[in-house]
């Protein structure tokens, strides 16, 4: 589904991504792990086109590197940004409407299904997005992207700063997303969440992929965890 190779990215003169290589197959949950500042967000931003990438990014076999973001999204890439970016002045329903693309046919999720899955969003459908709690905003941001019916969704640190109960809710939603055949590229800090739900994992360090494995192999790779993950 997604094949990234020799991906380089820069912020001004600073070289952030140095030849990132990884892939995500259809229906998979793949996690991108690593310490703060190693370039995980930059990687997903390069894929969606918010940061301009150098190298090759193939989605469904077609090169998308350098294409405009809206077009990449139209091809089926969904992106939930790290800071959620819920529109504070728009209502919950309007935020969800924003996710619907033009000429969209038979999406996997409809708005009423989303409201069924999240009664607390349904209750507050006409409340402005700005008054929601952090966890609710995260749900809203994810659901907004789902409204656009992506075939692969990239989610940047969905559990950051949230209570364990909410983290639990989010990992259930992730599994629900995967069960409908949507591939997930998950950027995570919380190792336990990633180990529990991922099929495969990559670890990043200094703008490169330094480890590729499965939850089972990563659990055994003590030296990788201590060198690249634990603080």
């Amino acid at each position: 589904m997604l094949e990234v190779s020799a991906l380089n990215a820069y912020y001004g003169k600073s070289h952030i991504l140095r030849g990132v290589e990884f892939n995500v197959k259809a229906g998979e949950i793949v996690s991108l792990l690593g310490r703060n500042g190693v370039g995980r967000s930059t990687t997903v931003k390069s894929i969606i086109g918010e940061v301009s990438p150098q190298g090759s990014i193939k989605f469904k076999g077609e090169e998308i590197a350098g294409r405009p973001s809206f077009e990449i999204a139209h091809r089926g890439v969904g992106y939930v940004p790290e800071n959620r970016e819920v529109f504070p002045t728009l209502t919950v329903r309007q935020n969800l409407m924003l996710g619907i693309k033009n000429d969209q046919k038979k999406p996997r999720w409809t708005m009423s299904e989303i409201f069924e899955m999240f009664p607390n969003l349904a209750e507050r459908a006409d409340v402005s997005g700005g008054v929601l709690s952090g966890g609710e905003q995260q749900m809203l941001s994810m659901c907004r992207t789902l409204m656009g019916d992506p075939d692969m969704i990239m989610i940047d640190e969905p559990t950051e700063g949230l209570a364990p109960k909410v983290v639990e809710q989010i990992s259930r939603l992730l599994e629900e997303i995967a069960s409908r055949g949507v591939a997930i590229l998950l950027v995570e800090q919380k190792l336990n969440v990633a180990l529990r739900i991922s099929h495969r994992l990559y670890v990043m360090g200094h703008g490169q992929i330094v480890y590729e494995g499965t939850p089972a192999t990563l659990k055994l790779a003590d030296e990788i965890r201590s060198e690249w993950l634990e603080v």
């Binding site: 405009p68 809206f70 999204a73 002045t89 309007q94 619907i100």
Partner: protein, 316 residues
């Protein structure tokens, strides 16, 4: 006294709505580009001239329909092929570009239509008094101006706040990246907003042309007042621009109608003045004479007491 008040309120309303038709587009385009479009009033002028030429051949109503479309299409092209490129070079370049465009349009208008005032007439259909109050007539054309502006604003307001495309536009103006990442073509949206904003200015030109006269300086005359309005209302705020437009429209209209002079005011304040006073020229100014300056006076006051404008937010 009452009749003066009623009529200057109505006339102020006409002016205020007209000003808002320009200010609304300008403030929307400001939120999008981050700079004031100095050429905005030029689109207003083009609206009047296009409509004038069309009205000679096809009549007023055809002009009302076609001229704003032409102006909007021209605006969209300017955004697509010029501003978007200039934008890459930063705000100063954009400002200079819009300045240049304003000059260019004024020169072009003089070249094609000449420097004289055009005899652009309101349609015969509306050349009757709508009503007569206290023996004074209110023309049907002014009633038409009020109706058409209010109609356009209601339609736009509904579109912007209720429809899906309106929500996308609102979101794209403040968070273009987020909206693009959700699959919306933001550059196209910006081109459309620019097109609609300039088309609105065009409508204003079409309907104001017969009343405020169609001449090559009309852009400059109205342009500066519209800037003042957008700043007073708070840059980027539609609601603020609406209040400021009506405020300035009414203020000017009352000032002109009042026919008060400084001496009257000073006497009213209980002050004496003599004709040989060194500041005599200032004393003998009448309120109608200083009416054109009032918007700027208000601007200074607003900037002193509320630097972000009436509805503006402080920048973080």
């Amino acid at each position: 006294m009452l009749e003066v008040f009623v009529f200057s309120t109505l006339n102020g309303l006409v002016t205020g709505l007209l000003l808002f038709m320009l200010a609304s587009g300008l403030t929307l385009i400001f939120s999008m580009m981050g700079v004031l479009n100095f050429a905005h009033a030029s689109f207003y002028m083009l609206g009047a001239y296009f409509a004038y030429s069309i009205s000679l051949k096809l009549g007023f109503w055809a002009g009302l329909l076609i001229a704003p479309l032409l102006v909007g299409a021209f605006g969209a092209l300017v955004e697509r092929y010029a501003l978007r490129r200039v934008h890459a070079h930063g705000h100063v370049a954009e400002l200079v570009f819009t300045f240049g465009l304003a000059f260019l349009v004024e020169e072009a208008v003089q070249f094609f239509w000449g420097a004289d005032t055009k005899n652009y007439q309101s349609p015969d259909l509306l050349n009757f008094p709508l009503f007569t109050l206290f023996g004074q007539e209110f023309s049907a054309y002014r009633g038409f101006m009020i109706t058409i502006s209010v109609g356009i604003f209601l339609a736009l307001y509904y579109m912007l706040t209720r429809s899906r495309i309106g929500i996308i536009i609102q979101a794209a103006i403040t968070h273009p990246h987020t909206v693009a990442n959700l699959g919306h073509n933001v550059p196209l949206i910006f081109m459309a907003v620019f097109g609609v904003g300039t088309a609105l200015a065009g409508v204003a030109g079409v309907i104001a042309g017969p009343v405020l006269t169609t001449f090559p300086g009309m852009a400059v005359v109205l342009g500066s007042i519209v800037f003042v309005i957008v700043v007073i209302g708070g840059l980027g705020s539609l609601g603020g621009a609406f209040v400021a437009s009506l405020m300035i429209g009414l203020l000017q209209s009352y000032a002109i109608a009042s026919n008060l002079g400084m001496p009257d005011l000073l006497n009213w304040l209980g002050l004496e003045f003599s004709r040989d006073h060194p500041l005599n020229d200032l004393w003998t100014l009448t309120l109608p004479q200083i009416a054109p300056v009032l918007p700027f006076l208000l601007l200074v006051l607003v900037l002193i007491f509320r630097p972000t404008g009436l509805a503006g937010k402080r920048e973080e």
